[in-house]
Symmetry: C2
Subunit: 434 residues, 2 copies
Amino acid sequence: MRDINVGIVGLGNVGSGAVTILAENADEIAARLGFRLNLEAVCSRTALRRPMTAGMARAFVTEHWRDVVTRPGIDIVVELIGGTGVARQVVEGAIANGKSVVTANKELIALDGLNIWRRATERGVSLGLEASVCGGIPIHAVLREGICADRIETLFGILNGTSNYILTEIEKHGTPFNAVLAEAQKLGYAEADPAADIDGFDARSKLALLAAFAFGVRIDPLQIAVEGIRRIVPVDFRYAHQLGCTLRLLGSARREDDGLFVSVRPALVPLSTVLASVQGAYNGVWSRGAYGADTFYYGQGAGSLPTGVAVVSDLMRVARDLQTGNLPRVSPFGYATVTEAAPRDIGEQRREWYLRFRVVDRPGIIAALSAILAEHGISIDAVLQLPDEDWRSLPFVITTEETRESNLRAALARMSEFDFMAEPPLALAIERGV
Amino acid sequence: MRDINVGIVGLGNVGSGAVTILAENADEIAARLGFRLNLEAVCSRTALRRPMTAGMARAFVTEHWRDVVTRPGIDIVVELIGGTGVARQVVEGAIANGKSVVTANKELIALDGLNIWRRATERGVSLGLEASVCGGIPIHAVLREGICADRIETLFGILNGTSNYILTEIEKHGTPFNAVLAEAQKLGYAEADPAADIDGFDARSKLALLAAFAFGVRIDPLQIAVEGIRRIVPVDFRYAHQLGCTLRLLGSARREDDGLFVSVRPALVPLSTVLASVQGAYNGVWSRGAYGADTFYYGQGAGSLPTGVAVVSDLMRVARDLQTGNLPRVSPFGYATVTEAAPRDIGEQRREWYLRFRVVDRPGIIAALSAILAEHGISIDAVLQLPDEDWRSLPFVITTEETRESNLRAALARMSEFDFMAEPPLALAIERGV
């Protein structure tokens, strides 16, 4: 079999990782494939002004992406620029030139993946997306091929390493959110502007992509209910532990009556579950199928080398396809067709709830809150108050039995009007289904 | 694209699961593939004497496997008989007739997988093995393609659901081994002859197969060091917990200096790790690569439908390959060539150890044992004795610092000669590397 030639566009964090793996692990890769992957060309804006690494020694080096996508002999172009500007031109240019494409670009694929896939299919080339979600976990390979005979009913994901790091640090040390965030920024685990991570937007894009792999539908990320972790305080973990649970920022997708409920929100997860074992900057994806029961996948969510493994593994898959047949062999999403779908109204989803209140102490508060819950047909499961020296400033918690979210939201709106509320109540779903 | 026609030989537990999934989930499967999988023929020894299920309604039904492997129009034969007798004839017959093969047959593949693969390659057909190890976890897809760019250095697996069920029941309830085993047999979780499960032989075959996927070497299962769980008593869990650990029957493979250390033995695993979260009849595989860091995969180890998902997912992969190109597209083991390899002498492996002693109480015992350890250059880390009313019958534990296993075995042989030993010492490795 002939060598397969690769061109990489973008030499940032992930690109450098992929180049390292292609160079250092070349023999192992060739032993697996039975042929070699050659790094034929690399492009970055500063390619000619930076030191060449060993892996690039035999490659054509350029600062112009068009040199790569038009270069004869290149079989697969790897787009690792990110964003939706030049990256789109690279991907579309490569396809137009009859080259297969591997990309780690979550934004571009969440925005316009179906059109890009259509172009690739028309041109008879492959599109690989393995690194676009959960770099360190081969979740695409699992959903696209590993358990593709199953009918997935529920998928939960801890999809953002930064927010999981922050939550598990709060849990371990009882440190307040802002202090943990500042520490994470100092260590480089969180960006100077942390909104994408801690407000759930990054996880939301990833969940939208996973929904395509798990259910064959394309969901607009903007239609996914999202809530970040800024309001989580150490005492929430103390209450959660009392309930046998912990807190995680959870991407959730459930198929019910042929519609999907999707959300990204902090939620209570039983401590006895594998999802609760996801600590620090790791990611985890749990799914339950109609046939295969529950499975769970775990690894680093990001990082130069872990994401590099995803990129190069994807390259190897596309290279195998190139050697043996007509492309594309398999839809990049695992479904022959992916249809646009609006998620179901999250208000119709039924859940048990954790409600945490911080109030100005006075008599009759529990009575007032219970009355509102009763008015909305919501049953109380328990009222919890931790023992504490300074009990007046300590929040308390009410857990409810299962109820429609719209009912709960209506009750919360009424509660927020009470003048004894020191802040709006915090409502977190309890995910017992894991 | 044309339909792909499937013949299933063997309608036991897994075969029934696969038929159910092919029938009930046919539309979802077709939506993924873009074409249909037809169940064209089924064979079992009692096929004509049992009620037809809905999924078999349109299939040719026979009691003779040759009818299936020679039947024109069948593209893929699924061998689900098990064992190495007729099953081998089915697999080899199908290949000889130019049909691709999917099999869940761990014994046959562990025994003779390389020869069967060679025949398939010569005949230009595909061989699918996904269901042969850890039915409920797509670990083959993960190792063969998902993380194939990595260089795996360590792999740990909880590979036998029965023994994990027994261990975690002992842990949860403090019930003695024999009582838990009897209960497991009553519930159908353990066979009447439980040796294959509880003495580690089943896990050993699986580890041998996983080594081919993870490292590209074929290891004779008989060369893998094995030890079962019969000697584990409830108090071992109490001591393990004191050490921040739990106990699991662990398949372990490590690449060191281009040789592999492989073993299947009960071992201490830190409670803080994801492997410790594997409870009941579940399986888990944890691996660390040189590039992708650590990943973990979890699901049911067996069962009609979970293993059926593995079989049908494998069918879908082979069917996709058949539609688009020349077979075989990828080595069934993920390596272009798999070489026979002898594992490294396990005696050279270095580990910390947990040594549990049951003795006839008298003065000077610790002094005598310490002296032997010192003679063999083994440093003691801690001596543990649980508080207990009946302290005289309670075993005690010595943990050691890292030492070569051969040193430890020599010391244990000397210790066994002491007349105060009520039973030979139990030695378990402490696996801190997870």
